[in-house]
């Protein structure tokens, strides 16, 4: 009986993993296809990669997206760390409940609503104070920082809650002032949470189509916006090449992270 159950479990879980990877693998294989038709195999070729790098529209958009993602992730990390710290280390203060509600709300808000509401805010602000004049990289960064802030705050908060406060208390007993306490003790302790928050924000910003479509102005198309319009228009083998490069970078990152984790585990074992 036990045997049959685990056979069923293994088969269904394996099917799940196949479901997860089959489209990605097909995409990678067909990025090396010589033929322009996606279903006809015309032999191996790198021509879509050179087509990709010669596509000025895609390259400009990719550069814009990288800039936006870098700045948004950095802003989100500063504000999100503050927010996570405030929620788990500041005790009670008026408005704490409201703040904790606001922080998790962007996580579940449908993107179309976030995008629409931010755009209408920017338009209303422009009408009232003349800022921001028009929309572009600045408004995309504000929008992305806002929804990434929530993710950083949640990660930092859970790290702080799981962490023992005794180190901070000891530092305070030894006379550390709040600022040096934060920068010399708390910050180094939560740095893994901050790094993963930054990476997550960077990816989320790089990936966002809907919000960016609402808050960007003419001539400021991010990479997902360009890909979306290309995909809607029809066959675009360069997009396969682009996808393969992006998957490759992510896979390298994940393999690196696993390797790092294993090394840490080994060191821990040795110390024990």
């Amino acid at each position: 009986m036990q045997q049959r159950k685990s056979l069923f479990l293994n088969t269904s879980a394996t099917l799940g993993f196949i479901f997860l990877y089959a489209p990605i693998i097909a995409l990678i294989v067909y990025s090396f296809n010589k033929s322009k038709l996606v279903t006809v195999w015309g032999g191996w070729s790198l021509k879509w990669y050179s087509a990709l790098f010669n596509n000025e529209q895609i390259m400009t958009a990719a550069w814009l997206s990288l800039k936006v993602a870098f700045i948004s992730a950095s802003v989100a990390v500063v504000l999100g760390t503050l927010a996570g710290f405030v929620l788990s280390r500041m005790g009670r203060f008026p408005g704490k409940l409201v703040l904790s509600g606001w922080i998790t709300a962007p996580l579940v808000m449908p993107e179309v609503i976030t995008g629409l509401s931010l755009l209408l805010l920017f338009v209303a602000m422009e009408g009232a104070f003349g800022w921001p004049s028009g929309r572009g990289i600045g408004t995309i960064i504000i929008a992305h920082s806002t929804f990434c802030l929530a993710y950083v705050a949640v990660i930092v908060q859970s790290r702080l809650s799981a962490m023992d406060e005794s180190l901070e208390e000891a530092a305070m007993d030894l006379g550390a002032k709040p600022f040096s306490l934060f920068f010399l003790v708390t910050l180094p302790l939560i740095s893994p949470a901050i790094i993963s928050g930054w990476l997550l924000s960077f990816t989320l910003s790089l990936d966002d189509l809907v919000i960016a479509s609402f808050v960007s102005g003419p001539g400021n198309s991010t990479l997902p916006m360009v890909i979306f319009s290309k995909v809607r228009l029809g066959v675009t083998p360069e997009v396969n090449a682009l996808a393969t490069i992006m998957i490759g970078i992510v896979a390298l990152g994940v393999v690196g992270a696993i390797w790092q984790m294993r090394r840490q585990n080994r060191m821990m074992n040795r110390l024990d």
């Binding site: 159950k5 479990l9 799940g16 993993f17 479901f19 997860l20 990877y21 089959a22 489209p23 990605i24 097909a26 995409l27 067909y30 996606v38 279903t39 504000l79 503050l82 927010a83 405030v86 280390r89 500041m90 005790g91 203060f93 008026p94 408005g95 703040l99 606001w102 962007p106 579940v108 449908p110 993107e111 179309v112 609503i113 629409l116 509401s117 209408l120 805010l121 209303a124 802030l149 705050a153 809650s161 406060e165 901070e168 208390e169 709040p178 990816t203 790089l206 990936d207 189509l209 890909i227 979306f228 995909v231 997009v239 996808a243 998957i247 992510v250 896979a251 992270a257 696993i258 294993r262």
Partner: protein, 320 residues
Amino acid sequence: MNAPVSLNIPGQKPVSGLGRLIYSLRHLSIGRWTVISLPSLWLAVFFFVPFLVVFKISLAEPTISIPPYSSLLEWDPEESFATLKLNLGNYIYLFEDTFYLEAYLSSIRIAAVSTFFTLLVAFPMAYLIARSKSTTRILLLSLVILPFWTSFLLRVYAWMGFLKKNGLINEFLLSFGIIDQPLTMLQTDFAVYIGIVYTYLPFMVLPLYTALEKMDITLLEAAEDLGGRPMQNFFLITLPLAIPGIIAGCLLVFIPAVGEYVIPALLGGSDTLMIGKVLWDEFFLNRDWPMASAVATVMLIVLVLPIMLIRNTNSGKEAF
């Protein structure tokens, strides 16, 4: 977590609400105030105020101007008198035209069905990961997370290549003689279900895994010793213990799926109705900003708010 900690100022706290508010306002140092107000102000301006603006514009009338909506306050220079003009027409239209109601209902249906199938696909995966050895576990977890870090849009695009008339699935089935006419899969609701299950799968696997990993395995051993059959043990022990993970995963998939735009736009047909797409079209194609705002307001009040409230109850909190 609410106990006064490190940076709190010691001293007796007044009990009454107002007294406590004044007390805490006075006892906050400038440094504390800056740290608290920075993220709070940012969220207030860029997350909370926008909804008030959306609500305001939903009460305006569409005009041909920049921006394309009427002002709610009309200033009469002769009488030096301002009149407030609220237009409920958008909301009336929203309920009169069955198109919008159908779109709301069909979004809920599509999101619910896909959430159920996501759960079916994710459960065995999460169970297998939770029961495997620690090295395999890291590997399998990374395999689940890897697609989550790659572009959402490109993953949807990958399915277009699979589901097309001359796509890989049809080619495969035709070459093995299982079908003799290519199936129409792209631009149907079926493709939308696949797209949602596929792209949101990690959001379901991870909370399920967390719940199953915490489970006390001795309970299952005890049940086996008492003669429970595998099916019985699963439904009476494993499933109830996984409920926090199931709730969390279902909410994480259901809520964003309701407002989904990209998946119905790329995989769905012209008859696939989803409210996120309706809002988008109302805004970008019809350029009717007040109507798009009304659609968003109703979506927020009817769909998002109740779910957020459930999430903030005790069982919801445990789940997230």
